[in-house]
């Protein structure tokens, strides 16, 4: 009987340790008025070296900016399910501002926001908002345009592999932007797209990268969160682009550049609004000009001609003379989307659910 008791005790300790660890990973918040409390929810672990990693870097920037005025909490690896609603509700109990940083948190965020009208919410990459929920995203397609130019110029096999996550407008827009840019420098270029239906599964991402390389791709782009594809590209001696974060450590020879998400300026701005009491529900879509989208250093392997091209396009995007989606552009089925000179509206871009003409394969619904 005593053995059973000790067994139970040990089990309790084991479980307790596990929960304790989970708890200390997010710093505990002491309830203390006068301090602004900001919560963050991440889809992946902060060590994913990609999407969630960059959001957490921005969280640390908020802490560094405001010091003792602000306390931050984060919860990582929250699935886009009932769990998300539970975690957001928990944070809403004692936080002033909550950033929910994945597309799938959209409905849970709004639901909790209605129940907690005094708490302010910020949802990344969604399209629904209300009085106490702002939405924000970055015009990653501008970055995709730039890496598309590089990819088109660098491919020898004229085959570019694209590892896609979920068929949502954000991801589809990235594929279309990269493709249009790539064919503008290399009309024979072909895109192979593999959908993984996950944001984060390093093993599967690596398998997909290998499959694409085996099928002749010599430049790999990804819209998933881990550096697995970069590592495979490095081993197989092909080129790749980092996603969300600079992945040069994983592909010193393979990485041509990375699209870097820089959320810090926005998070600092919104936290300041809370401190000043001037927070309003807004819809922000920042691009290269706002600093939200950055490129890592372009590899020395990229010839100057292409570098100049990227430089020009970058300037054009910043000063507004170039839009990556400028007509004439047809949809995949051949129907006209944009006529000569027409620029895509933000509404069109936000709801994009079709491939542009020239991309093979079927877009999943």
């Amino acid at each position: 009987m005593s053995k059973k008791f000790i067994g139970g005790l040990l089990l309790a300790i084991l479980v307790g340790l596990a929960f304790y660890y989970q708890a200390i990973k997010g710093e505990d918040v002491v309830i203390d008025d006068g301090v602004t409390k900001v919560g963050f929810i991440y889809i992946g672990p902060i060590g994913d070296m990609g999407w969630s990693y960059e959001h957490d870097k921005a969280r640390l920037a908020v802490e560094a900016e405001f010091g003792d005025q602000v306390e931050t909490t984060y919860v990582e690896s929250v699935p886009e399910s009932q769990d998300a609603e539970r975690v957001i509700t928990e944070l809403a109990q004692d936080h002033d501002l909550i950033f929910t940083t994945s597309f799938g948190y959209m409905n849970p965020t709004l639901k909790v926001a209605e129940a907690f009208p005094n708490v302010k919410f910020e949802h990344a990459t969604g399209y629904k908002r209300n009085d106490n929920t702002s939405i924000y995203s970055a015009r990653f397609y501008e970055g995709r345009h730039l890496i598309g130019l590089i990819a088109g110029g660098m491919t020898k096999t004229n085959t570019i592999g694209y590892i896609a996550s979920f068929p949502i407008p954000e991801v589809v827009r990235g594929i279309n932007a990269a493709y249009l840019a790539a064919i503008s420098v290399n009309p024979t270029v072909e895109f192979k797209v593999i959908w993984l239906n996950t944001w984060f599964d390093p093993g599967k991402e690596a398998d997909a990268a290998k499959a694409l390389i085996d099928q002749g791709a010599d430049v790999i782009m990804q819209h998933t969160d881990s550096p697995a594809a970069m590592t495979v590209a490095e081993q197989e001696g092909v080129y790749a682009f980092g996603q969300a974060s600079d992945m040069i450590a994983y592909g010193p020879n393979a990485q041509l550049t990375s699209i870097i998400d820089n959320w810090a300026p926005y998070y600092i701005l919104r936290t300041k609004d809370i401190i000043d009491g001037t927070w309003k529900s807004t819809d922000t879509w920042g691009g290269i000009d706002s600093g939200m989208v950055e490129l890592a250093k372009i590899s020395d392997k990229v010839p100057t001609v292409i570098k100049n091209l990227v430089e020009q396009a970058n300037e054009g995007i910043v000063n507004g003379t170039l839009h990556p989606f400028t007509g004439p552009i047809n949809k995949q089925d051949g129907s006209v989307w944009l006529v000569e000179g027409e620029v895509a509206s933000d509404g069109d871009l936000l709801g994009m659910a079709f491939y542009v003409e020239g991309i093979d394969g079927m877009l999943p619904n």
Partner: protein, 306 residues
């Protein structure tokens, strides 16, 4: 390498972590213990092998570290379930949660590092038959270890005295105990073996397949390994079949998409799971095969004092 060889190669690589983890769990379950902590032991094996390989520069030490760390994680489970008689399901689940957290802690300062290519086995080369060479002899040695391990377990369980004792413990622990066998000790060693195998499966991910370390990198492979054990109806050689089918469908669906065949990718992602459910349903129609092979004392606590 042409496409066929590449697909074949990809399947073997994607399946090997599953082979390791599943064959270990099979032995554990054959002894009558259900350890749901496979995911936790895998991730601990993945991080420890990666850290040791980075620190020592030797893959051999890395693989040894995976075996040792997986066993240590398993021994936690072994102590609480065998000697302190705690509930196996709850202990296994907490081992998974514990393992994921612990691995994140251990690996904190090792994100951002990557390894050179794992050495391939080049002893048996048949240069005059390049296709066979690419299909059969172009892997790292861990692939051969995993296949060898499956056959070794088959031999052990069916042909050796110790294997029969282990199965007896799993089928009727009271009878085995009355014959003088130490049920707890035998189960404890089976659990250690399961942990070592899960650790190997994890190290295959972090040293060969990806190869780097990020948190949560096992992404549910431990659970798939548990499914494969049921899929095999606790028969060792069927572990190979189950793991390769699972890995095979995963890889083939990636290639189908790359080639541009028009099938909704969600269906393709679902396919491995659909096949598994289908097989599970098919298996349970054959009561006899199920009762003959499944360990009767699975997940039952053995109470007698040593």
């Amino acid at each position: 390498m042409d496409l066929f060889e590449a697909v074949f190669h990809g399947i073997i690589i994607a399946s090997t972590p599953l082979v390791f983890a599943a064959i270990g769990e099979l032995v554990v379950e054959k002894s009558g213990v259900l350890n749901l902590g496979v995911e936790g032991m895998m991730i601990i094996g993945a991080v420890c092998s990666f850290v040791v390989t980075i620190e020592t520069g030797s893959y051999v030490y890395g693989v040894i570290a995976a075996i040792i760390s997986g066993s240590i994680a398993a021994s936690l489970f072994g102590f609480v379930t065998q000697y302190f008689l705690s509930n196996q399901v709850a202990s296994g689940l907490s081992l998974t949660i514990f393992g994921l957290g612990m691995a994140a802690l251990i690996g904190q300062s090792y994100t951002g590092l990557s390894l050179t290519e794992f050495p391939e086995l080049n002893i048996l080369t048949l240069n005059n038959i390049p296709i066979l060479n690419n299909i059969l002899f172009s892997y790292d040695y861990l692939v051969y270890v995993s296949i060898f391990l499956v056959f070794a377990v088959y031999y052990f369980l069916n042909k050796s005295k110790f294997g029969l004792i282990l199965k007896a413990v799993g089928d009727n622990h009271d009878a085995a105990y009355s014959l003088g066998y130490s049920v707890k000790r035998i189960r404890f060693f089976a659990i250690l073996f399961g942990g070592a195998c899960a650790g190997l499966g994890g190290c295959y991910l972090s040293l060969v397949q990806t190869p780097f370390w990020v948190e949560n990198m096992t992404s549910g492979r431990g659970w798939i390994a548990l499914v494969i054990v049921v899929f095999s109806v606790w028969r060792p050689l069927w572990i190979l079949v189950g793991a390769y089918i699972f890995g095979g469908i995963t890889i083939i669906q990636l290639h189908i998409q790359g080639i541009g065949i028009n099938i909704e990718s969600q269906y393709l992602s679902m396919l491995p799971y659909i096949v598994t459910i289908f097989v599970l349903v098919f298996i349970s129609t054959n009561k006899r095969r199920l009762t003959n092979n499944s360990p009767a004392c699975l997940n039952k606590i053995f109470n007698a004092d040593l």
